[in-house]
Symmetry: D4
Subunit: 238 residues, 8 copies
């Protein structure tokens, strides 16, 4: 017997089941699209399906310049494509990002970690967080980090992005009292083993208050930081 | 030239530098003791140093029954030892745990994960969080978890503890909107590789809102969950 | 002394020994061709050798569009090439697929797993199984899977294809009573380590009734599922 | 709000949630107990809970001699403990194993693999399969295996247990047409890496029709083989 | 103080120190060239240096078609380039390969292993061994191997080349009494992990008389087999 | 139908299938026993089965002192137990080792590698090879090795046993023209990873003429060296 | 509150924080640039920022020919680009390298290791060390190394660069009394695993006086060797 | 022919070749003994052989209390055993340690790293270096390290010992200009993987001037630091 159509809150595009219920289930956080590996046509179809459903903003990550160009060429208006973070945000024409609340601090060890950090920052902003950026503050010159700590400490959640040795997350956690979401990056070579080295560093952090997401997963860290930030902001409003 | 003694906020026991400043720096979260590998004498000395400093509660993790027995035999009063989680909490005599606030949900996939989960739960309680426990709700019988979700969804932060395949964290994250702190455990055998399997599962979670701590690191997860919980509760009070 | 030619049931193409006996030895399951790494000429020669032998259908996997185009350009009629699954099936002109029997359910966690799933599905169909497809039912939105379970439970064998965390197989096994053949995919990045993460997840499944094949080995899973399906159908006929 | 008690089909022992619904959901296969890491008291409590529920047979795996002795000393009658496979089967007094149906062949490469093989064999028998044993037929002396193949080919499902190089499963799959459930064992040393070597061998099998379970997981293989066997036998009866 | 020039038996090309003494030290086995990563100019210079030294034959491995074309275009006569094995053998014009002695058997599991096998075969021939080739005799159809064993048993040394599960070496060793040099290949995908799977299989061989060389190292296996073959042939002549 | 009993050349002890045909198939090399993990009773039964069969010498490896004591206590005469190599050799009373032929050189990098080296040496002697021992000649003091090379070069086969960095095999292969069987040992700590480091070193040897066996597999190396040695000696006799 | 601008000794280029204080903090060793992954524009901006700051020489590593061409095309004078080591050194026009002091010996196992060695050598020279080069002295022909030892022994620090088995560092350390900085290279294939094999070899060196840097990290080794060399030279001057 | 006895600078104890030439070859650094795995008798014999040779001090590492007790019980006078570092130093009776020169700084991240650090410190002192100890200065409370940096900067060489995340070495290298010898320790659990995590961290250090030794290899680090220290001190004296 087929499932009751009335109770279905997702629909099929032939290749994907859209989960329209997620926004409710996940506390208002909308669906997002993982662009890597999708054809131009699939990406466009997904954007259109979400837009038609409720017209709320949509975030896509890991999108190439070519994908963004295709969407624009196909007349999809309201596209904001950032090539550094490889993210595309769609918003209804004329609508700006809602007022951003709270604070999420996004830090990187080096300059090569910035694309991942920007994915985190743009994601957190998409989900309503005010974001401060603190890039290239790695531990090889620790004074650069120490000078930024007064700002970083004001965040409700901290995202620490680092490749190579990945020690940044632990150092920050030792200096702040907000949760630190650590993002190892595949930046590096040799015994970095594609990001394994900073991942293990972050998992073995001596300082309390650190948890790690997948290598290069700026989106996941930004989502989690925004989630914490929202909980705090919502509590403050009530 | 020696560092200015006046500015020192840690002291040395010969084998350890105590970090009395941490409580201030980390937003009021006191120092804790990692009991594993410490001699009875070292453990006692650490407890006494913290107690003499300010008389505030102290948490020690990874403590054996023998270590607890030694502390009691040496006349250290106010010891609360839990053999399942291997934690010892010292509180001033007559003082009870302060009123616990907010909510942290601690879940396990199986019964063998309970010691790690209890380490998380006791840690979160030590740092002021109200904790609800949801044990043995692994995905092999998913209805057990679904029945608990209404309770779990009320938490400000969720700790998901699982060994073997470690899928619990991702399933919960797909059903709740609170941050999920995932703790892989070394429960299992063979291709679990000492907890590597559930660790990788958790890092690769498809659902957003999951971050992982080290294998068997119940303390780290409990700390992070309590940190998030406190931020929310503090915001609500202000 | 050379082996007795009369007893030889394989022959040589110069680069390969054909195993014409396999069909008998393996219960009627014919030889198949692994297309990856073969030159156009080798692929054509293999097809022709099998076709000339007995004119029974032939399946080739991991074939590129270019390989398929070459075969057609060389006049090989009766080619059915599916670019998603990268499979080519040859059937005598005018002959359709035999009536498919029983039921194999093929499920995927996400849309990116579909090419591997289609390799499994097409393989199972080639070996005589009726196949139902249940795609994009991963655990990040578990209700999508639960709604499909009534259909999935009717299968004699279930193929569960998933990358990243790979938890799908274990969840299905907990909800069904048919054998689950788990196929980890290399979909993912970072700590997926090319499919190692879902592979370990599947090997550590808490639910009984799961066994795994190699990463991305849709063919192997489809073969095994068809083998089980055929045994059941043959028993029912007798 | 608490879940409706009427709908609960599992109950709690304080440390475990019993899943009494599993038997229905999994096609009549009852609950089993994983004995490793459980205290004598916990093991006894689990046995008693299942026995009181419906009095149907219970299987426990990874049980030590001491655990078996304790159960007997506590007056639990009807215990059948096999020290080689470390399994305990409880049956109502006077009741024998039901008539075993079909055929599962259990093979090992060497003598050191026998404990894992016996766990598989006893599990398959517990779930109603007739089992034939073919031990020490590893590929170092391939004629030992070839002589057994006529028997092995009669099985509905084959369990191939091997450590060290683990090639047995692939050789059998090349010679038979029944599904081969491969069980790598941790037998070996050095570059066996605790069973990783035979696990990889089995996953990379050139012959079709092989899927692997976790290292040393005789129970899982026996379960899966019995599941396949039962499907075939049930089909034959209908 | 500089080394005594008179005693120097190697010379420098600016980028390489030629080891002209090796032939004496290694029992008459000449220097060879590893072509991979060398520029056309470097490869030519190395050939010329060796040819000018004593005019004896030279073997180069891992050479591309482009490298071979360059050597010919530069007028280096006497080049025998085999694109399958990627080897180049230079011999004085008019001189043929010396009479080959003894017997080395080179076997492969599949057709994709042939390039590595040919590197082994050509190397063994270069060093004076008569070579018999037995390709595509993998264990998925064991009768193909059994039929060849009478020939393989006549060899003084056996080279077994196999990817994926890599079980060929152990099966042969169980059936022959000559030393088996096992060569794992990177043929395969997924859990083959670039040849790690067959390497571990070969190192864990149950049958005695197997030793392994590096993944894809046909040259090393051919050299070692020729070394054994020569020792036997030299003993027979004396 | 059961296999023809007349053709059976192995028999069963209940737990093992004896392979009496191996001696013929493997060129006269008899069966050996792997003692590790066997009970005293099993070990005795195996010795007795082989002795009763044909009274030829028997070699057992990985035997403890307790196992040797048991065999003697049970009246098994003719036992030669060497506690360093953990080998037991049984010979008919009054019979000495046959005249040893040829030459196998066994070398170690350090003193801690001696047990593995002695397993190799005793095995090679058991199979008829004259053995010279060259221990503690590792590359940290290369002159120790250089002084021994004149002796080592006289061997028909060389066994190089080394832990930690494992460079001994490659250095010897660069200085000799006999095949080098490399045995990595688990001697070392930390990044030796149980012998993985020397294993990889040996597989990556720059010098030609090296092949490796499993970590700590002195038996395998001694067998292979004896096999090569015998082939050379047999050729010399004919 | 923002950090006091007066105390800032680094500045931002938008994508990088320059650490102008490093030269003081690190004993006069200037900043360097890691060219890999940087755009032409970023690389130029970094060079200009350093040059404008104090006009002291600048070293950039991992630079492509295209990057060097761009810098020259943009009119950056004083560029010394070495394509083998992929380094670019900028010096004020007319200024030559300062007088080089002391001695650093840079050795390689093979010719393929030379690019990494040249990165080390050029780096050491940049930081003021006189460098002697000893290339292609690997252990497959140990006499090549022994002949060079009298020169190598005169160095204050030795850099040993080797891929594949990586034994060079240990052999040199056994023959010299200067610190040996070992650089594993990714030269090799198969079980080299991208340089893991020589890295483990170097970490497990039996000879004292060896420490390792990351795979292919010629820069790091050259820096460290120059640091040691400078300390010795400075001490000699005082 | 045997090597010329006159030229032998090592002798054999039956199980070990003593390398009396090492002191000359390695610049005066005497032989040392690795105690782990040696019998009491072997350890005593080694001490006596060195003492009889020239009466110079002897260092043994990885020695148990039982080994030290045995040496004393056997009348070996002049033994200085330190149970924390597990080192034994023998000096002629009445002779004290020679005046220590220069400065080596030994730092640890935590208290559990102290045994390894003491092995390094005692080793450096044995080889003539003045040592300052800076323990428990890990990055979880970075101010503890910053306060010590003025002292640490005065060292000619720095040993940084750390487990878990192992970030200490990189942070120190960013703040000092002396070479940093990094020692990962096996302190930690879970994803530390026996010290692999800090090892990778140290190899991937962003700061220049770091090289790593094996996990837990305090001896190697102390030796290397003393070697550098001596070179500097010798230069200063000349």
């Amino acid at each position: 017997m087929a499932p009751d159509e009335k109770e279905r809150c997702w629909d099929s595009l032939g290749f994907a089941r859209l989960d329209f219920d997620r926004r409710r289930r996940r506390g208002g956080f909308g669906e997002t699209i993982f662009g890597a590996g999708k054809t131009n046509e699939q990406l466009l179809a997904l954007f259109r399906a979400f837009i038609e459903k409720d017209g709320l903003p949509v975030l896509a990550t890991r999108c190439s310049q070519a994908q963004a160009d295709y969407l624009k060429a196909q007349g999809l208006a309201g596209i904001d494509h950032d090539p550094v973070s490889r993210t595309i945000i769609w918003r209804p024409e004329g609508q700006k990002s809602a007022g951003l609340l709270g604070c999420v601090a996004v830090c990187t060890g080096g300059t090569a970690d910035i694309p991942v950090a920007e994915e985190a920052a743009r994601t957190a902003e998409f989900f309503g967080a005010h974001v401060t950026r603190h890039y290239d503050v790695g531990i090889a010159g620790i004074h650069r980090l120490l000078e930024q700590m007064d700002f970083i400490r004001q965040a409700h959640a901290i995202v620490a992005v680092a490749g190579m040795e990945g020690a940044l997350a632990g150092v920050i956690a030792g200096l702040a009292d907000a949760p630190v979401i650590a993002v190892p990056t595949s930046v590096g070579y040799g015994a970095s083993f594609g990001g394994l080295a900073p991942l293990l560093t972050m998992l073995n952090s001596c300082a309390e208050g650190v948890a790690a997401v997948n290598i290069d997963n700026g989106f996941g860290a930004g989502y989690l930081a925004a989630q914490i930030n929202r909980k705090v902001c919502q509590a403050a409003r009530n």
